[in-house]
Symmetry: C2
Subunit: 140 residues, 2 copies
DNA sequence: TTATAAATGCAACTCTATTGCATTTTATTT
DNA sequence: AAATAAAATGCAATAGAGTTGCATTTATAA
């Protein structure tokens, strides 16, 4: 993605333009799989760990990234499609490969039927995580 | 649950009978909400933290407990219904209350239609996490 | 260009979880 | 009941993920 587009994206999400943010956003654009803080630390050794953490937080806060639930360990993040500063709104699911450990957003729309909850439970949102073997791993 | 029942349950799952395991298993039986290591540390100060961790691991390994995916922070565990040493098999969903932070297993069966995945992705299992307000919080 | 607010780097710190090893306990065999 | 082998426990040290405070630098707007 072009430099000017990245910049516009940051501005649209009310974020100041900094080297770190530009580089991290570009990195996300270039990768289909979800990204961990570890990935960023390895890739961007010129930035402090804390700055990378704060970059992820500001991106999440302002609707550029969403945190993807995982069993534990390190959190992973995926690019948002249509979220903004005001609110996140997602309806896609996530795929976690048990072979290579990668996680990715799956955009093929899935009908998630409103869950049947017991009385007095109010649903706000739903996360669906599919576990299995990803395309890359299944072809090896 | 009776002492003899707890004991039988441990034996059925190929686990040796120890004080810590008996107490922890009983604790899980008495609680409907998912339990964190923090809960156990607070409750069972007579056992070392490491022992509690190892208890959770052995229970998970042997089909007594399942780990419930969470955004991050500390892991939580729920009692298994019909799992054994050989394998876990779950088809229930989890409810996470955004007000009190609790997580619990929801047993009302939910039709989770096989997700439409892109080519060459193989699904093995699926986790559904519903976020919202739990019954206790909604009545306050 | 200057002023203000925000972002960064660094060090220290907290919290969660794991590992190694000596000791104790459990289950099994005699 | 006593001896044995295997497993569980406690303790200390270590590792890893993430956060906080503060001085310095940078981005934006006046
Ligand atoms: Mn996603
Ligand atoms: Mn459950
Ligand atoms: Zn894979
Ligand atoms: Zn609640």
């Amino acid at each position: 993605m072009k430099y000017s587009e990245l910049k516009k994206s940051l501005k649209n999400h009310k974020l100041r333009i900094t080297d770190c943010r530009m580089d991290v956003l570009e990195y996300f654009q270039e990768h289909t799989k979800a990204v961990s803080i570890k990935d960023l630390e390895d890739k961007f050794q010129e930035y402090d760990r804390v700055t990378l953490y704060r970059t992820l937080h500001s991106f999440e806060e302002n609707g550029l990234l969403h945190k993807i639930p995982g069993d534990s360990g390190s959190a992973v993040y995926g690019l948002c499609k249509d979220c903004d500063v005001a609110a996140h709104h997602h309806n896609h699911m996530h795929f976690r490969c048990t072979s290579c450990g990668s996680t990715e957003c799956i955009d093929t729309p899935v009908e998630i039927k409103a869950a049947t909850l017991p009385d007095n439970y109010e649903m706000a949102s739903i996360d669906v995580i599919v576990n299995g073997i990803c395309n890359q791993c299944s072809s090896n």
